[in-house]
């Protein structure tokens, strides 16, 4: 089947099977920043923004995104770079596997919450697992990134 979408503000038509998941389709179309983790909605590493909201692409059928907007980390490059600098400064970066999904969720949070507290940031990011940093450095980096605005 054909599915028309807007990926990072570019119109695309995906050719896919009715049971294909968005994660597989995006990776097949070379959006390799969208990563596979648990593949069962738990880890958040496959997060993309669907109509501006973070969703786990491993559990969204490609057929269901007809006409919608998808943003991967390439679509928020400037913001991801700003966040990345704070990650570097705070030692919040180790293997980096979860970074694209984390950057997307933080970007969505910035649009969703007004001046979030540390507790609100922690709650918002519950669905994004990181197995390297222990979250403290990430939290510091994110608060500094939000403070830049």
């Amino acid at each position: 089947m054909l599915v028309n979408v807007i990926v990072n503000q570019e119109t695309k038509t995906f050719v896919c099977e009715p049971g294909d998941y968005l994660l597989d389709t995006l990776r097949a179309y070379n959006y390799l920043s969208v990563r596979r983790g648990c593949d069962n909605t738990s880890c958040g590493v496959c997060t993309v923004l669907l109509n501006g909201k973070p969703v786990p692409s491993c559990s969204v059928l490609t057929a269901s995104v007809e006409g919608k907007s998808i943003i991967t980390v390439e679509g928020i490059q400037a913001e991801a770079e700003k966040l990345g600098r704070h990650f570097g400064d705070e030692g919040a970066d180790q293997c980096g596997y979860c970074n694209p999904s984390l950057a997307l969720t933080v970007y969505a949070m910035k649009n969703d919450l007004f001046q979030p507290t540390e507790a609100e940031v922690r709650e918002y990011l519950v669905g994004n697992l990181c197995r390297c940093t222990g979250y403290i450095q990430q939290e510091r980096a994110i608060m500094k990134y939000l403070g830049d605005e």
Binding site: P18, G19, D39, G44, T47, P54, V55, L61, V126, L129
Partner: protein, 267 residues
């Protein structure tokens, strides 16, 4: 999951006809838990575009469309201001925001998930389900009578009568399913108590609630008796998340706290 065809009906009747045509035709809501099933579908019927994603509030009740996401419920002002916001709180405790952005209340209800955090809240909010063909069905009846003809869930109605409520989920981590979850509510003259994830599907403790209804002022003895009555009514057992004994202790503790908290709020 193998899907032969994905269809987007233009109206509810078309969706219903597609559903009843073949037992292997299935409705897709948000799809959040679809990977946990091993089913295949001849047709996967999307309910998007059928105008089932609205929340409409009146003074007496709130009607939530079946395609409303858990995140939308969590952040809706009217739901936050109903019965101490227990339904919002129940949604807030479900995994991460990314899941709550796709999981819908309709999908959560129709899946009959024993671990569901929203069931106890819906039970004490006296929720009813609005089906396309069967009409309005009490949520409590829906849970206790699992067999029913295929139908489309259009929405869920919750009562706004309760003056105060309490919700508690106990889980090992934020991303885990509940070891136990429970909710309480009180209107001017009646209590409702529901306990879920025991690990059985949520149910009401009717006798315990009726017992509390007799008293205007509560004391420790009355509360303890009500908790014991609730434990007699609710089926509790063990699974990989917790032993029967641990669950019983959790239920005792949080029911007591819940009854006290609601009593204080209603004065």
């Amino acid at each position: 999951m193998f899907v032969a065809e994905y269809v987007r009906p233009k109206n509810v009747e078309e969706a219903y006809q597609a559903l009843i045509k073949d037992k292997k035709n299935l409705i897709i809501a948000g799809g959040a838990w679809m990977k946990l099933t091993k089913k295949s579908a001849s047709k996967l019927i999307s309910l998007e575009g059928l105008d089932l994603n609205k929340i409409v509030a009146t003074e007496e009740m709130i009607e939530i469309g079946s395609m409303v996401t858990l995140r939308e419920i969590e952040t809706n002002e009217n739901i936050l201001n109903t019965c101490s916001g227990i339904l919002s709180l129940a949604c807030h405790n479900i995994m991460g925001i990314n899941i709550r952005n796709i999981a819908t209340i309709g999908g959560s209800v129709m899946a009959r998930l024993a671990f569901s955090d929203i069931y106890p809240a819906l039970l004490v909010l006296d929720a009813s389900l609005v089906f396309y063909k069967s009409g309005e069905v009490s949520f409590a009846d829906f849970l206790s009578h699992p067999n029913h003809d295929p139908d489309l869930l259009l929405g869920i109605r919750i009562s706004r009568k309760a003056e105060a409520g309490y919700f508690r989920k106990v889980a090992i981590t934020a991303l885990d399913f509940a070891i136990v979850n429970l909710a309480l509510s009180k209107t001017a003259d009646s209590w409702r108590i529901a306990v879920g994830a025991t690990p059985f599907i949520a149910s009401l403790a009717i006798e315990a609630a009726n017992y509390l209804d007799q008293y205007k002022e509560l004391n420790d003895e009355i509360i303890q008796t009500a908790v014991n009555m609730a434990l007699d009514e609710i089926k509790v057992s063990k699974n990989q998340r917790g032993s029967k004994e641990y669950r019983i202790e959790l239920i005792k503790t949080y029911l007591k706290r819940g009854i006290r908290s609601v009593s204080e709020h209603v004065g």
